[in-house]
Amino acid sequence: MTDLILDVKNLSMQFGGLMAVDGVSLGIGDKQIVSVIGPNGAGKTTVFNCISGFYTPTGGEVRFQGQEIQGLPDFKISRLGMVRTFQHVRLFSNMTVIENLLVAQHRHVNTNLLSGLFKTPDYKRKEKEAMDYAAYWLRKVNLLDLANRESGNLSYGQQRRLEIARCMVTKPQLLMLDEPAAGLNPNETNELDNLIVSLKEDYNVSILLIEHDMGLVMGISDIIYVINQGRPLASGTPDEIKANPQVIKAYLGES
């Protein structure tokens, strides 16, 4: 495994006297779906926050496409091609659906003030491209008819899909999803399942997933990492994890 897209080694995060994450290592290859599971409070989201730059890890190394990124500001990490969602939906809820997707393409449009004021051809072309790309992704996640709705008025499942679309328009190589299936009904979870697989197959995106829905995790993951109380507990393919007695113990308690 030499060409890992994301390579996390010995990551640790200490808040005062509390070791929230202790020596966690992860590796995600090209076009892989990797899941992180663990009981509530195990430190999964903290790992996410450390990787995506929302926290500066107190120890360890994070490499994205070979480049060390620990300690970089969050927006710079995101610009390298690594975007994330959050446990709670974080849409720009007073803005319309399409505007949400345009904001996400901020880096790809012409942000020069003068070209915007005078509507230069380049500005118009880039705006049109951004609009078309947004429309493309809206169709993909089945929200095109709601493009001019305020995103706060969408249903929860639609908001979740919009959030993924909003990540995808930034053209990432690695998508980090923090509990994307939380609060979805079985039908919607199934759609999400298909969407995630399609992102991997059709758009060459690697996916790092935190999820509690074991059906979803076991069905789509290539590798699963289990974290318990901030420490790595096990890793392997879904079948290995299912059979691991330690994992069963951590999840179900001692029998």
Partner: protein
């Protein structure tokens, strides 16, 4: 129906009114020679205090009845009254025509109105500009700025000082004033970027005071509390054909004050009239406001405008999408400040005299009130609010010291009746080509 509890509550409120009002209004301090002594106020005042406390009692007792009656008052839905074509392009067209008519009216109006009202309208337009500028920071980017008047002061003093020391004309100073104010916005922006909400409000409030106090104390440069007088009025650029072809400035005084300038009436060979100057200033203000509206309308629809609003909605999501919040916040501060700079330069030119007195905190509060009253983020609402906030105090001039009271009452009623402002902002709808 009316419980004992309510009557007791009403009595307490009435007594509180009496206790508060008597020392303030019921007694007067009279100086007799050198020894001051207290004297009871005239019977009228005492009767009105008693009437007021009675009124408080009844309002408290019948509060529920009143509020249900109050909610029965229909709330006009101003937006739905405006006829609205259904298709987006049709609406754009209607909006364009309405804007054109409005501008035409604004341009033609001063020739029919009295000199005093044109002068007042000019003041309104200055506030419109300030309101629109602050709206970028508060309404769009969601950063509460209580020291906006500082940038207004920077604009005004840049023109006053540059013309005083270097004799630069209004037209040269206008962009410089905007740029300088923008630079100050940028400077303020840096330290406050990490702050949000109340903390930001306090720091900006402090900044506003710092600028005012600095101007007040830099006597050798700014004249301190004496201010700067004799600031030249803007001139109208014109082409001179005799003795040779040249660009000259037309002045609106009886005689040209600056060498090389020609009085307006001489250039056109008409009789001198003092109202030309007022009308010219008004038209100039209209021009500046139209420019401001156009630029801000574009900004809102541009990537930077979208980013401002996104940042207001959810900063964390913005960061996760690769938006640099530092740059975006700074751009909002800088842009907002530059419009205050333009307004300040124009203000200095119109007044002819400025002093730190004109840039106190109350000005910031009024501008903020215009933004809130008009409906955060809405341009048309801000214009309406600026008119209301400037014209009403003028109409209510007879009430003198009660003006501020009326002002407060109006604000309280607005917050109950239309908390979202006169005309809440509508999201610009983006048209998509379905296929």
């Amino acid at each position: 129906m009316i419980s004992q509890e309510k009557i007791i509550h009403g009595l307490i409120a009435a007594i509180a009114t009496l206790v508060l009002a008597f020392p303030l209004l019921g007694v007067k301090l009279v100086t007799d020679g050198i020894s001051p002594h207290l004297e009871n106020a005239d019977t009228n005042t005492i009767v009105s205090i008693l009437v007021a406390s009675l009124a408080v009692f009844f309002v408290q007792v019948f509060k529920d009845h009143l509020s249900s009656a109050f909610s029965a008052i229909p709330r006009p839905d101003l937006l739905s009254k405006i006829p609205r074509p259904t298709t987006t392009s049709g609406r754009d067209k209607a909006e364009k025509i309405a804007t054109m008519l409005l501008i035409a009216f604004a341009l033609a109006w001063p020739f029919a109105a009295s000199r005093g009202s044109v002068d007042l309208a000019t003041l309104v337009l200055i506030y419109v500009m300030l309101g629109l500028g602050l709206n970028i920071v508060v309404g769009l980017a969601g950063l509460l700025d209580l020291g906006y008047v500082a940038f207004y002061a920077v604009g005004a003093y840049s023109y006053a000082l540059l013309s005083d020391y270097y004799g630069l004309s209004f037209w040269v100073c206008l962009p410089i004033a905007g740029l300088l104010a923008a630079a100050f916005g940028f400077l303020l922006g840096f330290p406050v970027l990490r702050l949000r909400g109340d903390y930001l409000a306090i720091v900006t409030l402090g900044f506003g005071e710092i600028i005012r106090i600095m101007i007040n104390n830099l006597t050798s440069l700014t004249g301190g509390p004496n201010g700067i007088g004799n600031i030249p009025k803007p001139t109208l650029p014109a082409i001179q054909t005799e003795p040779d072809l040249a660009l000259v400035g037309l002045e609106f005084g009886k005689r040209a004050k600056t060498e090389g300038n020609i009085p307006f009436h001489e250039y056109f060979g008409i009789a001198y009239d003092g109202s030309y100057k007022v009308i010219f200033l008004y038209l100039l203000a209209v021009l500046l406001v139209v420019f401001t509206i156009y630029v801000i309308r574009r900004l809102v629809r541009m990537p930077v405008g979208r980013a401002w609003e996104a940042l207001r909605e959810d900063e964390i999501a913005c960061r996760s999408l690769g938006l640099n919040r530092t740059a975006i916040k700074l751009s909002a501060f800088t842009m907002g400040a530059s419009f205050a700079g333009f307004a300040g330069a124009f203000f200095a030119a119109r007044q002819g005299f400025i002093s730190p007195e004109s840039f106190t905190f109350i000005e910031s509060a009024i501008i903020l009130a215009i933004v809130v009253l008009g409906g955060m983020g809405s341009q048309f609402g801000i214009i309406l609010a600026a008119i209301a906030m400037t014209v009403l105090p003028e109409i209510a001039r007879e009430f003198q010291e009660y003006r501020m009271l009326l002002f407060g009452v109006m604000m309280v009623f607005m917050m109950i009746w239309r908390p979202q402002g006169l005309l809440p902002a509508k999201r610009p709808q983006l048209e998509m080509t379905h296929d």
